[in-house]
């Protein structure tokens, strides 16, 4: 029996029980649609993160305490401090900028308004990296940091809430954790992100030297640096390691990562994320596939006599096997095609409603098509095998 005839036969027997075929189809449609839309969520997220990271510039270098070692060995790792950043400014000629960062939550109060916002404790390095982001006022100077001046720079969103559009924030005194700070700068608003309001808009910068009092520690979470240019990234990383070894000893361990390697790691992580999401969608495909198998088994039982007749007039095992297998595959492929369309529509809907940048990749469509055909074969082969191995005499007698 030719391929064409198998397909024709499969479609005609699916047509004879329309409702049943449609319901079985629905299982596959939903399964494939969820694979497609789940993967589009993951893929969209991946692209967004990658895009944002590559926006950072290729000459970025991050230095962090080796938290992994801390977690593994239980011991305390070496901490980074403001002094390390100062030493790097002097000792690493390949670096253009160095800035420290430590995160914390602070309460910012002006008049009656009080907001809990995230604070970035940083230093004069901010001036070289965030210059473009400044809306008005100025950024920290070395003196601000060293002298522990009571100054702060606030995000655009926070400035709007505290001072409104008319009042100028610059020079105003706000209370940060109860202490008076003078606002010396306001950052530009960055607008909404996929999570809603951009947290950067509701944050404050505070000189790192205040962090001991406010967070209880001198430690710096990370130091971000920029190499003079992309070609000097490697050289700069070596210089950083040299400075740190000098200050903390040869056994000290810090993670010195370039933006390229961070990008790579993030890509790997987000890709795994996509695969996991796809896997969650795959579970519903599995359920749909079991539905196909269930219906095919019922169908084989119902059509036992038909199998007997076909065998009596000369159908070989392979003919019967193909007949039923093609029915299952046809169900899954038609369901798969409809699922791709539905999944695509679902992805666009998610993008619209949840403001999440979904992306239907060729990869996810390929995965969907392969899993649909695989489901057809996997869940169709047992019923088809059962049909093919029916004894013709028994099958003919079946009522």
């Amino acid at each position: 029996m030719s391929f064409y005839e198998c397909m024709k036969l499969a479609l005609s027997s699916l047509k004879t029980s329309k409702l049943r075929s449609a319901l079985t189809l629905l299982g596959i449609v939903i399964g494939i649609a969820s694979v497609i839309s789940m993967m589009s969520i993951g893929e969209g997220g991946r692209r967004l993160v990658t895009m944002e990271l590559s926006g950072l510039g290729a000459n970025l270098i991050f230095v962090q305490p080796d938290y992994a070692r801390e977690a593994m060995s239980g011991g305390r790792t070496d901490s980074l401090t403001y002094e390390d950043a100062q030493a790097m400014r002097k000792g690493c000629p390949a670096l253009a900028t160095v800035s420290v960062s430590q995160m914390g939550m602070v309460a910012v109060k002006y008049g009656k308004d009080r907001y809990n916002v995230s604070a970035t404790f940083t230093d004069e390095g901010l001036a070289s990296t965030q210059e473009a982001g400044l809306k008005e006022g100025r950024l920290f100077t070395e003196l601000d940091v060293r002298m522990q001046r009571w100054v702060t720079i606030i995000g655009g969103g926070l400035a709007n809430r505290l001072f409104g559009k008319e009042e100028s924030a610059i020079g105003a005194k706000v209370k940060v954790n109860g202490q008076n700070f003078a606002v010396i700068g306001v950052m530009k608003e960055q607008g909404r992100t996929m999570f809603g309001e951009n947290p950067a808009d509701m944050s404050a910068y505070i000189p790192i030297t205040h962090s001991r009092r406010m967070t209880g520690s001198d430690d710096v979470a990370y130091i971000s640096c920029e190499a003079q240019d992309v070609k000097q990234v490697k050289e700069a990383m070596d210089q950083i390691k040299g400075v740190l070894a000098q200050r903390h000893g040869k056994d000290s361990s810090f993670n010195v990562m370039s933006s390229a390697s961070i990008l790579e790691t993030t890509e790997t992580i987000t890709r795994i994320f996509t695969v996991i999401l796809g896997g969650i969608g795959g579970i519903s495909l599995l359920v749909g596939g079991i539905g196909v198998m269930n219906i095919m088994l019922v169908s084989v039982t119902e059509r036992t006599r038909e199998v007997g007749i076909r065998k009596a007039v000369g159908a070989k095992k392979g003919d019967i096997l193909r007949q039923f297998l093609f029915e299952a595959i046809a169900l899954c492929l038609v369901g798969g095609a409809m699922g791709i369309i539905l999944g695509w529509a679902g992805a666009s809907l998610i993008a619209k409603i949840a403001k999440w940048p979904t992306y239907v990749s060729l990869f996810s469509i390929t995965v969907a098509v392969i899993s649909a055909s695989f489901a057809g074969v996997a869940f169709g082969v047992y019923p088809a095998y059962k049909a093919a191995n029916l004894d013709p005499i028994e099958a003919l007698r079946y009522e």
Binding site: R305, V313, G314, K316, K317, I393
Partner: protein
């Protein structure tokens, strides 16, 4: 030519072994017409299934046109059924959702005949049984006699050398039954070997010769014409030959 030698068929149901055939030998020449008679449960259907290559004997041998059927694989048996044998069943066994024409086409589908040729041959087979006009009807739109004629057309369409008819008139009224028998007789005149399984001696008497089976053994053989004179109950006295 059919040569069955000491054929036994034992069904193993796990606990008990049931012998459906206990050493049957039979020869049917090409072009002969023969009836296998016997009460239900005698083993006549089992014999027909073996002769029809739907089943294999447990022991003994079966030569069909010089070929040892015992050793054939399932697929080879299917091919033999497709090429050499046409079946006519008591319950017609037509595909209910297919038209008469599609039903007749079915054996040709499995012998790989092109769709256009298939259609043509199926139509001419239907015309041979006088149902050319009913090609587009489904089995439920046909009378019992017509359905059985479609089944005969299906049996004929591959131009087999043997037609096996298992109680072909069992579900039909007398008139339609006679029509069917007449049709089989005509096919026999055209040179096709006809093997008829029946418990009706009246119908069996229309064949060249008969064998009678009881409890898995051939108990009597004779000319078809001998049967017409007897009734069903008298037949039983033949035991012990």
């Amino acid at each position: 030519m059919i040569v069955v030698q000491d054929v036994e068929k034992i069904y193993d149901t796990g606990k008990v072994q049931v012998a459906a055939l206990r050493g049957v030998s039979l020869e049917v020449e090409s072009g002969e017409s023969m009836a296998i008679i016997g009460p239900s449960g005698s083993g006549k259907s089992t014999l027909m299934n073996i002769v029809g290559c739907l089943d294999r004997p447990t022991s003994g041998s079966y030569l069909l046109d010089g070929r040892l059927v015992n050793e054939l694989s399932d697929d080879e048996l299917a091919e033999v059924r497709n090429k050499k044998i046409g079946f006519v069943f008591q319950t017609f066994n037509l595909l209910p959702r297919a038209t008469a024409l599609e039903n007749v086409e079915l054996p040709l589908v499995y012998s790989g005949v092109q769709s256009a040729v298939r259609r043509e041959r199926a139509l001419s087979a239907l015309e041979r049984v006088g149902l050319g006009e009913r090609a587009d009807h489904r089995p439920n739109e046909l009378s019992g006699g017509q359905a059985q004629r479609v089944a005969i057309a299906r049996a004929l369409v591959t131009e087999p050398s043997i037609i096996l008819a298992d109680e072909p008139t069992g579900n039909l009224d007398t008139k339609s039954g006679l029509e069917i028998i007449g049709m089989l007789k005509k096919l026999h005149e055209q040179g096709i070997t006809i093997i008829l399984v029946t418990h009706n001696p009246e119908i069996a008497s229309k064949t060249d010769r008969f064998v009678e089976i009881r409890d898995g053994l051939i108990v009597r053989e004779g000319k078809g014409t001998d049967l017409g004179k007897r009734t069903d109950t008298q037949e039983g006295k033949g035991e012990g030959i």
